[in-house]
């Protein structure tokens, strides 16, 4: 249904794999990930860049995939929740800590929450509780009351530190 609007060739990397697609310019990264690449771990909720459910990392930085045009991902590296565990399926320490701490209930915010936490830990490997609250304040969880998420991030930070 492109009504004569030319398709845009998009080549980028998703979870370590090169992807080449033809997209329409107005397609959001969330649409492309979910509808074209079947990576439905990226959830769409508020659609106004408030909740963070659709957070994915583009060249390591968190973006709202619901509003970020897929066009902007050209020649960049995108990490979604599906790409976080090791190739053999071993969970990333953040994923493991979220399981261990029951840091989710419905799980709809969880992929975005974990990726936002991953961006935080890349920048500050051992964040204080204050820093966690401040940095994660742009991700909403409606179920947990946040405390178990703070605990999970602290636990993952420790695990990552002892691993390296």
């Amino acid at each position: 249904m492109s009504e004569g609007i030319p398709l845009f060739p998009l080549s980028f990397e998703v979870n370590g794999r090169a992807v080449e697609l033809e997209i329409e310019p107005q397609e959001s990264l969330a649409e492309v990930l979910r509808n074209r690449l079947n990576l439905t771990g990226t959830k769409v909720s508020c659609e106004v860049q408030v909740c963070g459910a659709c957070t994915v990392l583009v060249d390591g930085l968190p973006v709202s995939a619901c509003t970020f045009l897929a066009y902007e991902a050209r020649n960049k590296k995108v990490l979604t929740i599906e790409g976080l565990a090791a190739p053999d399926g071993t969970l990333h320490p953040l994923q493991q800590a979220f399981v261990d701490e029951s840091a989710f209930q419905c799980g709809f915010c969880t992929p975005g929450m974990i990726l936002a936490a991953r961006a935080l830990l890349e920048e500050r490997p051992l964040p204080t509780e204050e820093e966690i609250r401040a940095s994660m304040d742009g991700n909403i969880c409606r179920c947990t009351g946040y405390l178990p998420i703070v605990h999970a991030i602290q636990k993952a930070a420790q695990a990552l530190r002892s691993r390296s």
């Binding site: 107005q26 959830k43 994923q95 399981v99 209930q105 709809f108 009351g145």
Partner: protein
């Protein structure tokens, strides 16, 4: 049901959730992730008017757009029964003849993708004739007010209570409920002290992060819907009614659900999505945005006029309340909210006299329905505020006053009901200890406690099936939906406990009405109690069958076969279940089907199924310059009988308290005239990381006093109900200023503090914003 606390293997342990890995890896599938081959997408054109006659709808140009498969309107539903509703059949699949609120769906376009459907909406012309609207309870009840629903209605099959349908009888009253005992008038006349006031609890939005979504398919085998719903069996009933099909021909499948909190209980967009699929002759997905979801369901806001009396000894003597709930344009589940609000208005106290009158009123606003707490949060703002007010009036400490008046364990404090099956008195003491009740506080800080008891569990009809497979693994078939509350984890724990297998060997097969046995609903905190018990009984049924099989293969009377964990023994012979089944069937994968049906009988014959208790304490600090109130300390005690999974039980308590705090401090949907103005997360402020209290205490009371498995009772709503009043009471203790409405927005608090300084009445003066929403308050 309750038995002495025994040694548990799996139950009463915080085992990691069964859905954990799926949810942290992005593999968990939600209804929004469902894609069917050949699936099309629907988009909705919504009403711009609050109340208007539909004169004409022109859709030809939209139908002609490339990629459009079908356009559905209210007058294109021939062959279907266009009205549904589990309580009152007042809800059309699409607006029929007139619209009743801004945002009501009028036309659905089905197209190859969402964008094409959305852009095709531009090509539809609807002509309306505007009608006068009622936007508040006050307007709706005024003499000569325009009437939303002119027809009378039959009661739906799942109303959940006895009272007559009020809707459609010439007024805008959708439902009324009246509760009386003793002689309230006489008691007030003889009281030693009385407090009275008017309280307003706001209209709120549950913000389940996954907005309503449904994928429907209609073909010769019937209707299949994949939906983000809480109550698939009731939705099945409604969809079967719309399509005139037997329930066996309607299948509701509920994958993981991205949050519910009551907002996904009962039928939402399933009939419309199925109608789109029927019209377009292909599977259709309808996924709403958050902004549309708010227009689908919000909570009832409530105006409560209440008074409370005590005698000369400081004992509660009487309570009287009149409650007006703003039900919005359609009944949804508001009739039950009305009933529950009336039941819960007096609070968990020993009160000899009470009169409660509650009215759910139609207005030309978005439909209201269930919301976590179910009327309790609305009425508790008034009820628990007045406990502090009357305690102060007679010079008593609010905690001491509560301890002197709260219902005792085993006491019948609400007529013709189950005696109190929890220990609120000790819970209150526990909370006070955790909070440091007697420690001095600096100026600008205040503490408060609060407690509630809700008649919970809904109507006790639930069934479950448990299959013990030939290799000793277990499948649990449950019609309870996994909303995040952890129901699938706890039923797996119960099955593992009862069959005697490791937790990892249990698979839970979730809600699919074609496969899983009937369960009335997943709400009213009933799943642990009722589904948990049904699963336990189904396991016992399976075990008893397997014991008989063991006797058969061991060629002895059943009495000689004794049960051990995971199998049986007779003398020196020990057989685990896989050995019993292999020998009985002579094949590797023979299996046993255990089943249980619960109904309102035996120890479930008395309602409520259980009293869900809420008990918490807060400490707030107030920035008197800006009016900002901050929750710095929170203590919650969950009186849950026995926590099947303590981590999950505490998680529910914190989650519910946080959600309640959101409404206490920030959340309020605002109507400016006919228009809902803050239905986006940009303007509707839900709790964030930065709102997390600096100090948090979560504790459980486990007296095994419930009718659920091992004496368990439900949780998950309790700590939401008393938090708004606790915040209000704590603010009062911090500043001497009492607000009788929430949220305690900084501006509202600042105005109240300013007015108090100027010696004015401490009720907040209406601001322009207040004026807008107060119109709704009546």
């Amino acid at each position: 049901m309750s038995e002495k606390k025994r040694e548990f293997y799996v139950v009463n342990h915080s085992v990691p959730r069964g859905d954990g890995v799926a949810k942290v890896t992005g593999q968990a599938k939600y209804a929004s992730d469902v894609v069917l081959p050949g699936m099309a997408y629907a988009k909705l054109l919504r009403s711009p008017y609050a109340h208007a006659r539909i004169l004409s709808i022109k859709v030809g140009e939209a139908e002609a757009q490339p990629g459009v498969f079908a356009v559905l309107t209210g007058d294109r539903l021939e062959g279907l029964n266009p009205y549904y509703g589990h309580a009152v059949k007042d809800h059309p699949v699409l607006a029929m003849g007139k619209v009743r609120y801004v945002g009501e769906p009028v036309v659905a376009v089905v197209a190859v993708d969402e964008r094409t459907a959305f852009q095709a909406l531009d090509h539809i012309t609807v002509q309306y004739e505007e009608m006068p609207a009622v936007l508040s309870v006050e307007q709706a009840l005024a003499k000569g007010a325009p009437i939303l629903h002119e027809r009378t209605f039959a009661a739906g099959g799942f109303r959940g209570f006895e009272a007559d349908v009020s809707a459609g009888r010439g007024t805008n009253i959708c439902q009324e409920a009246h509760v009386t005992w003793g002689d309230a008038d006489k008691a007030f006349a003889e009281a030693a002290a009385v407090v009275e006031g008017e309280y307003y609890y706001p209209m709120a939005y549950a913000y389940a992060m996954e907005p309503y979504v449904c994928v429907a398919e209609v073909n010769e085998s019937g209707v299949t819907c994949y939906s983000s719903c809480q109550h698939p069996f009731i939705v099945r009933h409604d969809v079967a009614g719309v399509f005139n099909l037997p329930v066996s021909k309607v299948r509701l499948v509920v994958p993981f659900v991205g949050g519910g909190y009551g907002s996904k209980s009962y039928t939402k967009i399933e009939p419309l999505t199925a109608a789109c699929a029927w019209k377009a002759r292909r599977p259709v997905k309808l996924q709403l945005s958050v902004e549309e979801a708010v227009l689908t369901t919000r909570s009832d806001d409530a105006l409560v006029r209440e008074r409370t009396a005590v005698d000369a000894q400081g004992k509660l003597l009487a309570r009287q309340a009149t409650i007006y709930l703003n039900t919005g344009a359609y009944a949804e589940n508001s009739p039950l909210v009305c009933e529950k609000a009336a039941n819960r208005a007096a609070g968990p106290y020993r009160i000899p006299n009470a009169r409660i009158d509650c009215y759910g009123v139609y207005t030309n606003t978005a439909p209201a329905s269930s919301f976590r707490g179910f009327g309790s949060a609305q009425v508790t703002l008034a009820a628990e505020s007045q406990i502090d007010e009357i305690a102060e009036k007679i010079g008593q400490d609010p905690l001491a006053f509560r301890l002197a008046n709260v219902a005792e364990r085993g006491e019948v404090f609400f007529p013709k009901s189950r005696p109190l099956d929890g220990d609120l008195k000790s819970d209150l003491k526990k909370v006070a200890d955790l909070l440091g009740w007697d420690k001095p506080l600096p100026k600008g800080k205040g503490r408060a406690v609060g407690c509630t008891a809700s008649d919970a569990g809904a109507y006790p009809v639930t069934s479950a099936a448990v299959r013990v497979h030939g290799d000793g693994s277990v499948s649990v078939l449950t019609g309870s939906t996994e909303l995040g509350q952890g129901s699938h984890t706890i039923v797996a724990q119960i099955a593992a406990e009862e069959i005697g297998v490791p937790f990892e060997k249990v698979r839970v097969v979730g809600s699919d009405t074609a496969i899983t046995p009937f369960d009335r609903s997943t709400g009213a905190s009933r799943t642990t109690t009722l589904m948990g018990r049904a699963v336990l009984e189904a396991c016992q049924d399976a075990v008893s069958q397997m014991r008989a099989m063991a006797a058969d293969v061991l060629r002895c009377p059943v009495e000689e076969v004794t049960l051990m964990r995971g199998g049986v023994q007779r003398g020196a012979d020990r057989l685990d279940w896989s050995q019993v089944l292999a020998r009985y069937f002579g094949l590797p994968d023979g299996e046993v089907l255990g089943r249980a049906y619960l109904r309102k009988a035996g120890d479930l014959s008395q309602l409520p199924v259980f009293w869900e208790l809420g008990c918490l304490g807060v400490q707030v600090s107030v920035d008197e310059e800006t009016g900002r109130v901050h929750l710095e300390k929170l203590a919650v005690v969950g009186d849950v009988g026995l926590a099947i999974n303590p981590a999950l039980a505490e998680g529910q308590d914190l989650g519910a308290a946080t959600m309640g705090m959101g409404i206490g401090l920030y959340e309020e949907l605002i109507y400016d005239g006919e228009q809902l103005v803050n239905n986006s997360l940009l303007d509707y402020r839900v709790p964030r990381f930065s709102d997390l209290p600096e100090e948090l205490h979560l504790a459980l009371t486990e007296n095994q006093d419930g009718v659920g498995p091992y004496g368990a009772k439900g949780g998950g709503e309790g700590s939401l109900n008393p938090i708004s009043s606790a915040l209000v009471n704590a603010l009062y203790r911090a500043t001497g200023v009492r607000l009788r409405r929430v949220p305690l927005l900084p501006e509202r608090v600042w105005r109240a503090l300013r007015d108090a300084r100027h010696g004015r009445e401490s009720c907040p003066a209406p601001t322009k914003q207040d004026a807008k929403s107060r119109r709704e308050a009546g």
